[in-house]
């Protein structure tokens, strides 16, 4: 599971920064394509348990069924996986957080928040490469056997399942805690490096492997409410900054320096533009404005459709509601409209802001435009209420 974890700077300085693997060394997969565990083997029992979990994921209400989105992610998985492509089933889950996970059976989950945060398909590939490396190096099995040493056999598989898959049990917080134990520091580093190797072999930019971490760190820095720290387990799990630094050194030593300029992948940009409304609405609903603003700045920089980015700047300012934010929101919605092809919501929320400031004529004008663009809007009755109120 790839998830951002940040620990205090004072701890960072105490962590080793030495590269674990020489830049020239080639990391090998431990299993061949099409791998199946042996019968009557502890691994086989684990597979059976995980297959049950996969059935639940397949029926999840949050599963993204849009074929375009699934095809996009599948194509990246297959390109990175190469000969292992057919070993994986990929499920895109609607969740604004940053996460991807892989079970030992080859079930991969990718959250939409990860897709929203990636600037290029290289960065998506970087995360996927990391997850595939966990799979081909049998890290889950190693971890299970390690955990088994300290546990009663009766609870082993249930706990193992949670550790390996991040299943959201009714005890969701307990599952979250167990996730922190999911892979050892050495395994994470191994997956980072083998993942980078696979990404490069698939002709993706290996420098994306650390760039995505740097972006996450910048987002965390901008956050008002920081994510919970890993606490007790921080000493056994490499943090984002250390991982980014190690990867950068390793990738630069092996593949040379990055291109001077980041060029956005047309395909990922096209994906973002096509799905931006849904992806960003979920992000806005998190009410985490520092992170949202950092994301918007990044999206603006990589060339996401300006009318969409400005619309969500408007949403973010309006909902944050700090001093001066109403005016900032008005400016952002106006920009969205000037950019061409704004979401109808730009007019609606501009109308509401003018209503708030007592500029009823402007409010009416924007409300009318909203209904022209969205005649079937489900809030039509509310808008018409204000239009009629002003007429009387």
């Amino acid at each position: 599971m790839l998830r951002l974890r940040v620990i205090p700077a004072v701890v960072l300085t105490a962590l080793p920064l030495a590269l674990p693997v020489a830049a020239q060394e080639v990391l090998e997969h431990k299993i061949p394509p099409g791998y199946q565990p042996e019968q009557n083997h502890d691994e086989k029992g684990l597979w059976l348990e995980v297959e049950e979990y996969e059935k639940a994921v397949r029926e999840s209400a949050l599963l993204v069924e849009d074929p375009e989105i699934n095809n996009y992610v599948d194509s990246i998985v297959c390109r990175v996986a190469g000969d292992y492509c057919r070993d994986f089933r990929v499920y895109v889950i609607r969740n604004p957080g940053f996460n991807a996970s892989m079970t030992p059976t080859g079930m991969m989950q990718v959250w939409t928040g990860l897709l929203l945060r990636a600037q290029t398909s290289d960065e998506v590939a970087a995360v996927i490469g990391h997850e595939i490396a966990h799979y081909t190096r049998l890290h889950s099995l190693e971890r299970l056997r390690s955990v088994r040493k300290g546990m009663a056999a009766g609870t082993l598989f249930d706990l193992g399942l949670t550790i390996l898959t991040g299943v959201q049990s009714p005890f969701g917080q307990a599952a979250a805690m167990l996730n922190l134990l999911s892979f050892s520091r050495a395994q994470e580093q191994e997956a980072d490096l083998l993942g980078a190797q696979m990404v490069a072999e698939a002709a993706y930019d290996p420098h994306a492997t650390y760039r995505i971490w740097e972006n996450l760190l910048a987002e965390e820095e901008a956050a008002v409410v920081k994510r919970e720290e890993p606490g007790l387990f921080s000493q056994t799990h490499p943090d984002a900054e250390v991982r980014a630094n190690q990867l950068e050194d390793w990738v630069a030593a092996r593949y040379g320096p990055p291109d001077a300029e980041l060029w956005a992948s047309d395909r990922h940009l096209e994906f973002l533009n096509r799905n931006y409304m849904t992806l960003m609405e979920d992000q806005i609903d998190t009410n985490r404005f520092g992170r949202t603003q950092a994301l918007l700045e990044r999206h603006s920089a990589i060339g996401v459709e300006p009318a969409l980015v400005h619309f969500f700047y408007g949403e973010m300012f309006r909902q944050r509601a700090q001093e001066g934010d109403d005016q900032r929101a008005i400016d952002a919605y106006r920009h969205s409209i000037e950019d061409g092809q704004p979401p109808p919501g730009s007019y609606k929320n501009l109308g509401y802001l003018y209503l708030k400031s007592g500029e009823n004529g402007l409010a009416q004008e924007n409300f009318r435009r909203y209904l022209e663009l969205a005649p079937d809007a489900s809030d039509r009755a509310m808008i018409e209420f204000y239009l009629e109120e002003d007429d009387t």
Binding site: A61, L62, S169, Q173, L232, T286, K356, A381, M382
Partner: protein, 199 residues
């Protein structure tokens, strides 16, 4: 911090098993400063049932809280969320007395998403419309939630603001069956809610 969260969840689950219920008879009932008129009997759950409820919140149910619930959240002051954030990690949206209908709708959707657990549900709202609660102007809207490890929910929310304080009435029930079963009565109760005192 993680242990505190685990303890909270475990405690909530343990308490959930000991939730006490009291009967709400049909007729005119006062819920805080709100007056509502149920046509049939409901069960009122004790505060232990809902760890995220802010003080003064009342929760009724017909068949159990995971199947259907009718919540009354009275007099939320300016600057406070409609649910309680026990650890300051939920980033709950806060009510502002200047909020207009679009923002009350967003407040409802985002708060419900947090209630189900951030990332564990997609909450959508629709059909925002005006409604009068006694002498007070307010709104009605439909809600639905797709939840990662539970049934889907649908519901109806009503809200109005008086003297810079927000009043929320929220019906939420599992689909299929439970939502439809009590929708008519819940809608009557929510639409008929009003303050007990004249403003």
């Amino acid at each position: 911090m993680i242990y505190r969260r685990i303890l909270l969840v475990l405690t909530a689950y343990m308490l959930h098993g000991c939730v006490a219920y009291s009967l709400v008879e049909p007729g005119t009932v006062e819920v805080g400063e709100l007056q509502v008129s149920p046509e049939s009997a409901w069960s009122r759950a004790s505060s232990a049932a809902f760890p995220f409820a802010r003080s003064g919140t009342t929760v009724w149910t017909q068949d159990g809280l995971t199947l259907n619930r009718l919540m009354f959240i009275p007099a939320v002051p300016d600057g406070e969320p409609i649910f309680k954030d026990r650890e300051g990690q939920m980033a709950l949206p806060k009510f502002r007395a200047t909020m207009l209908p679009n923002e009350l709708e967003e407040l409802t959707a985002s708060s419900l998403g947090k209630m189900f657990g951030e990332g564990n549900a997609v909450v959508q709202t629709a059909n925002l419309r005006p409604h009068r609660y006694g002498d007070d102007r307010g709104i009605l809207l439909d809600v639905q939630a797709a939840v990662t490890d539970g049934p889907d929910y649908k519901g109806l929310a009503g809200a109005f603001v008086v003297k810079d304080e927000l009043y929320v009435m929220l019906y939420l029930a599992a689909v299929p069956y439970y939502y439809e079963k009590d929708l008519s009565e819940a809608e009557t109760i929510i639409k008929g809610a009003h303050l007990t005192t004249l403003n």
